[in-house]
Symmetry: C2
């Protein structure tokens, strides 16, 4: 006999709702001061000693020794061999997923990653030039969170953006290489790969060493050391977001088979104990049916212990007064993954302002989006969808403003600029504008 | 008699070039540990005590006392009164600049800030929804770097993005309000404004207090305390870049009047002693003429002392072998402002990969772009143009992926997702996909 599942249930009609809701939302991103200090030391050491420091930390933390850092580079042949060694079904799945992810990101580049310019009535040209980054680094975790899908999701947008050199780092604790990760690197077209990880790999990418080239931006998930290292080197290089625990919010109108919703909640909870799975629904009977599905299906899951810990620690079933209210609560949460499990997803979608990805309709399980629908699975967590976006082609491009003021334009703009510059006490600015005026 | 100007001159043909060039480029963004600690305390205090803490720090640091934080809010009437009190020429210049900046950012929104979607052959919908942030905070420095133009450059893109609430903070040391800054806030359509500053203002915006609403993103320049505070709250809220000293690089083919180039170099150097002004040119005679202009014009500048310190400390005139070589050196520098002061700017522009803004042709002085050409003057500094972009409408929008998998699409995607999910040991993901398969 198993222990009953202690999954909390809230109702927006309850006077305690607000306080309970705050407890559900609470998650502290406090960083460990000891980790911060250790990471700062590792970064400084790699910056000073380069290859030698990276080799020492790799031997110490991963149990992987080499005479030269070059020996830890994976050749294109090794990546190819890994691809050949996996099953045919795995090869086909990786290639199908890569093709769809590539196609979506090509559409994204066409929609929002193009240079543009125009001329005003004075013949002055204004616009923006969009160019790819020269070189990017992709961090891929080793160990239990080694996800080949993350290799595709990080490398393909960079490749579509036109980045000429994509450098992957992936730790291989005790020398264990994950063949699916290597195969994904092959499929995604990673240019160089090193079996290094941790803060030392982030430092090598940010500062460059004799062997590891300095990159312009580092993306990809990692443990607390990697996250802290990325935050430290931010400014020196670009970084993507610092990811918190993964979350799903299912907004249900009661028309989806309850087992489907239960499994979607599991698919988030199984990531780790801190992952969060929430259900918002106005129908109490339906919530009870989902709970029944959860209780029935949980013992059948290989990762039942992790799922239970996640659901009990951070999960909740929330009864709302209406779907409208559910939408407004969803906006307060700004979830990473938002499933609109409804017969009328397009009725609710316009009300949903903040989410990393919105999955519309009963057939759109989050897991389809995680692997192969096409959009990126690297999404803003912990409410940061209020102000940030999925990883995309735009993260591997940057923009330069273009301005070409015509002689006629300079006559119009000069006096305006000079007036404002004198007002700010910047006479050099004013006189540079005035010099372009016809006498 | 004045001391001769000690402005360094380099030549790429010299064997010492690489070492000298590295010295010119060197700039350390090291943060002061004492400031970091002090800022962390202020942030924690404001988070814990809200209004009361903000009031105390404002009294202590700015010499401005009030019983209630609400008393430090500027009303719309006060902003309007400031606008009415400045000169007609200033009003007209502010409005003309605002109109041009607005027009450019509207073009930018149309070019790269629109939602998009498509359906694949299975009827599956894929796309991205672009929405404005709910509320943003704009930091405006007080004191010597109080620039009304910065108010326009931060607030207008937010307004064009559709942000419904723009909250400005501006310290007023000893109660001194800058009428041009207040007038600019009026013109730019800032919704609320508080006369608070420093780390305490950043904390109030990031965490919210009883009086200051919590925002989703904070943009705008500030001193070391403000920069440190922004870095600390990054993640809690979005931030724009952390700006270093301002820089200009003039790439000259020798066809622009030397006085114009000299004044353009001054217009950067006059910002502060750490600002950097560089000239790259293949023509030694022309470099000599620019140097002569600099020496002749410098004594005529009200900010001559600052300009001299900047030019001697961080400036350089660099002779290159060719314009092509000048372009490639410019790419290594990735300057904030890049003037292509040439008769053939469109010949060189395609070779220039990294720059915040590119000013094409002799009439395009940087100062025209700083105030009123239209593009934003908030640009990536210190080489960060390698991976980041001018402030823009996109900084005040975020994207949500949209996915609606059709029933037919789920049959195609399900097996792919399941194969990859089992490969990653995530059975919940796999089964969620499999449940959507027809029996």
């Amino acid at each position: 006999m198993t222990t009953p599942l202690n999954l909390r249930q809230l109702s927006t009609a309850s006077p305690e709702f607000e306080a309970e809701f705050q407890r559900v939302l609470h998650w502290s991103a406090e960083t460990d001061a000891a980790i911060e200090t250790r990471v700062a030391e590792i970064l400084a050491d790699v910056r000073a000693r380069g290859d030698a420091a990276v080799l020492e930390y790799t031997a110490r933390f991963d149990g992987v020794s080499a005479e030269q850092l070059g020996a830890l580079e994976l050749t294109r042949e090794e990546l190819n061999a890994a691809f050949e060694a996996i099953t045919l079904a795995q090869r086909q799945a990786l290639e199908a997923a890569a093709a769809r992810v590539r196609s979506y990101h090509e559409k994204q580049k066409a929609a929002c990653g193009q240079s543009w310019s125009y001329r005003d009535e004075d013949g002055t040209l204004l616009g923006q030039k969009v160019t790819p980054l020269d070189r990017v680094g992709i961090y891929v975790p080793g160990g239990k969170a080694a996800y080949p899908s993350s290799v595709l999701m990080n490398a393909i947008p960079a490749q579509v953006a036109g980045v000429p050199e994509i450098v992957m780092v992936v730790p291989t604790p005790r020398g264990e290489k994950n063949p699916l990760v290597l195969a994904a690197a092959y499929v995604a077209g990673v240019h160089r790969a090193f079996t290094i990880g941790g803060a030392q790999a982030v430092a090598a990418l940010a500062y460059g060493t004799a062997t590891v080239p300095r990159v312009d931006k580092i993306t990809g998930p990692g443990n607390a050391y990697v996250a802290s290292a990325k935050k430290h080197v931010f400014g020196q290089v670009g970084i993507d977001m610092i990811a918190g625990p993964s979350e799903i919010l299912v907004l249900a109108d009661g028309t989806t088979p309850p087992d489907w919703v239960a499994m979607d909640l599991f698919s988030q909870a199984e990531h780790d104990e801190l992952a969060q799975s929430l259900l918002l629904c106005p129908d109490a009977d339906y919530i009870a049916r989902v709970r029944e599905s959860i209780e029935r299906l949980l013992p059948t899951m290989p990762r039942a212990a992790v799922i239970r810990a996640s659901l009990e620690g951070r999960g909740a079933l929330i009864q709302t007064r209406s779907m409208d209210e559910a939408c407004s609560i969803s906006n307060r949460i700004a979830p990473e993954h938002l499933e609109v499990s409804s017969r009328e997803p397009h009725r609710w979608e316009p009300l949903l302002r903040h989410a990393g990805a919105i999955f519309l309709g009963a057939y759109t399980s989050e897991s389809l989006g995680d692997y192969c629908a096409g959009p990126n699975h690297v999404l803003p967590t912990s409410g940061t969808a209020r102000f940030s976006s999925p990883l995309g082609v735009y993260d591997f491009q940057k923009r330069s403003s273009l301005i070409e003021v015509s002689e006629a334009g300079a006559q119009v703009l000069g006096p305006i600029a000079a007036e404002l510059a004198y007002g700010e006490g910047l006479q050099g600015h004013a006189r540079a504008a005035e010099m372009r005026l016809r006498r």
